[in-house]
Amino acid sequence: MTAALEVTNLVKTFGGLTATNDLSFALEPGESVGLIGPNGAGKTTVFSQIMGELRQTSGSIKLFGTDIGLLSMPERIRRGVSRTYQVPRPFADLSVLENIRVGFMPNSVWGMVVGRPNVEQERDLALEVGFNEADLEKPASDLSMGDLRKLELARTLATGAKVLLLDEVFAGLTVGEITQISALIQKLRSQGITMLMVSHDLPALDPLVDRVIAIERGSMIAKGSFAEVIANEEVRASYLGVSA
């Protein structure tokens, strides 16, 4: 079966600094994989390269078998890979519904002018990620962090993402919000969406992933099930800085 996302020999250097050091991994369709590592390990850099925000120095990135390494970010998103950000980027003055609307829009000016927004579809998606009817017209600037993350997820899903990169989706959330988002992610998993999740909140990550990859300073240092990777000596050392 063709891998949903396949990264091969990915290298990214910034002058003298090697941020990504010959990284290779593959995600099967429907898999949920955790990407962990200490601060500065290069996790967000990997995301940026997969999305096309950063141009890789060398290596290939394949989405469902097609090389996307030279495509622009909107083009990659059109093909089904999308990401969320550690700091959500909502359209502050637009309402929840309008925010989601942007995700549903076709990348064609004619389409935008002539076609009407499908409010039913927008509503359904908003309710699915956990918004209430009352929230739909609220401007994004009024939302809590948890709601902003839901909004970002909704907008990402609206683009038709089949592969989701989630960057610290639990950061800054209350315990209740973490539960909500976790439930949402489980739902997406059951729908067959492939996911790569970066998180510092390891306990929250555990039930959501099939397996885990650990990186440090741009290189992979361990991979396997959650339990295996957590117990790994090198991984513990990278987090704690001493031999555990």
Binding site: P90, F91, A92, M105, V109, M112, V113, G115, R116, R155
Partner: protein, 314 residues
């Protein structure tokens, strides 16, 4: 598009009111309104690009000037019919602006503002130097064909034009395109992150803006009957357009119209006391204070006032 009965009612009332004006006011006031109409058109043009996407253009007279000069040259020097010259002028404005400003759209906000300012200056110099036999050089041209005679006819023409432009722009911005453009102004990278090409969007905003600017410029020159680079490519003109939009309310269509009328009449009232450039001192001072206090403009103030009224009666 969600058009409701009150939209039709509001626009209808506006149009009727406008058409009834010649019966109600003096010729002098009509002439002032003509200027306000054209300023409103220029303001809408600026708002379509800069108000929505946040790419502040400080050189809009550049576009207006291309439209004006093209139509003037075609009719006066080459004997074109006005019916042909104006559409050509609009197309030339769009093309000329595209060729020249497209590289500028690749760069981020602040640089864009600088570059548009530079282009306006460039236009000012070019027009005096390149083919002054066509452009009239430093002194400009006069004796250009006028489309109407007298205040009343000039009023009707400019009003009809303004209303058509306003409604067309209003309808366009009510589509998903309007939402997308507003989103670009709010968070451009997030728009890219939603799978949309912001370059394409910016280009559309720019073309729409250029279209209106060229149209307005062409008709304006056929109202004035003359054109002069000093008055056209002037920072005061830029200032007037931008302030009209901001005072009225950016990123709407009604806002620029309100602002244009407010501004034109304010300047007219100040004229007896402060002829000449000094008016801008008072006016600019008011504008600055107003802008810093309520950057969203009069339209927003009216909207929130209306909302508060509705809230208190429910």
């Amino acid at each position: 598009m969600g058009l409701r009965w009150y939209h039709f009612a509001a626009w209808g009332a506006f149009i009727l009111g406008l058409m009834a004006l010649p019966e109600l006011v003096s010729k002098g006031t009509l002439r002032t309104i003509i200027f306000a109409n054209y300023l409103a058109i220029f303001a809408i043009s600026w708002d379509l690009l800069s108000g929505r996407t946040g790419y502040i253009s400080f050189g809009h007279p550049f576009l207006i000037g291309i439209g004006a000069y093209t139509s003037a040259i075609l009719t006066k020097r080459f004997g074109f019919d006005v019916e042909l010259a104006i559409p050509i002028a609009v197309v030339v404005t769009m093309l000329g602006g595209l060729v020249v400003l497209l590289p500028a759209l690749r760069i981020k906000g602040s640089y864009f503002a600088l570059v548009t300012l530079a282009f306006m200056e460039l236009m000012y110099q070019l027009v005096q130097v390149i083919r002054p036999d066509l452009t009239g050089g430093t002194r400009g041209m006069s004796g250009i064909q006028t489309l109407t005679r007298g205040a009343v006819n000039g009023f009707y023409l400019s009003s009809v034009l303004m209303v058509i432009v306003a409604i067309a722009a209003w309808l366009l911005m009510r589509t998903r395109l309007g939402t997308a453009l507003t989103a670009v102004g709010l968070n451009e990278s997030a728009v890219e992150g939603s799978g949309l090409s912001t370059t394409k969007l910016k280009m559309v905003a720019f073309l729409a803006s250029a279209f209106v600017a060229g149209l307005g410029g062409a008709f304006y020159v056929h109202y004035l009957g003359s054109i002069a680079p000093r008055a056209l490519f002037d920072i005061n003109f830029v200032f007037t357009i931008i302030v009209a939009v901001l005072i009225g309310g950016a990123s709407t269509i009604i806002g620029p119209i309100i602002g244009a009328f407010f501004l034109t009449f304010l300047l007219e009232y100040l004229r007896p006391w402060l002829p000449g450039a000094e008016r801008y001192f008072i006016y600019g001072g008011i504008a600055l204070l107003l802008y810093m206090y309520q950057p969203k403009g009069i339209y927003y103030m009216l909207q929130s006032g209306w909302a508060r009224l509705k809230g208190s009666t429910s």
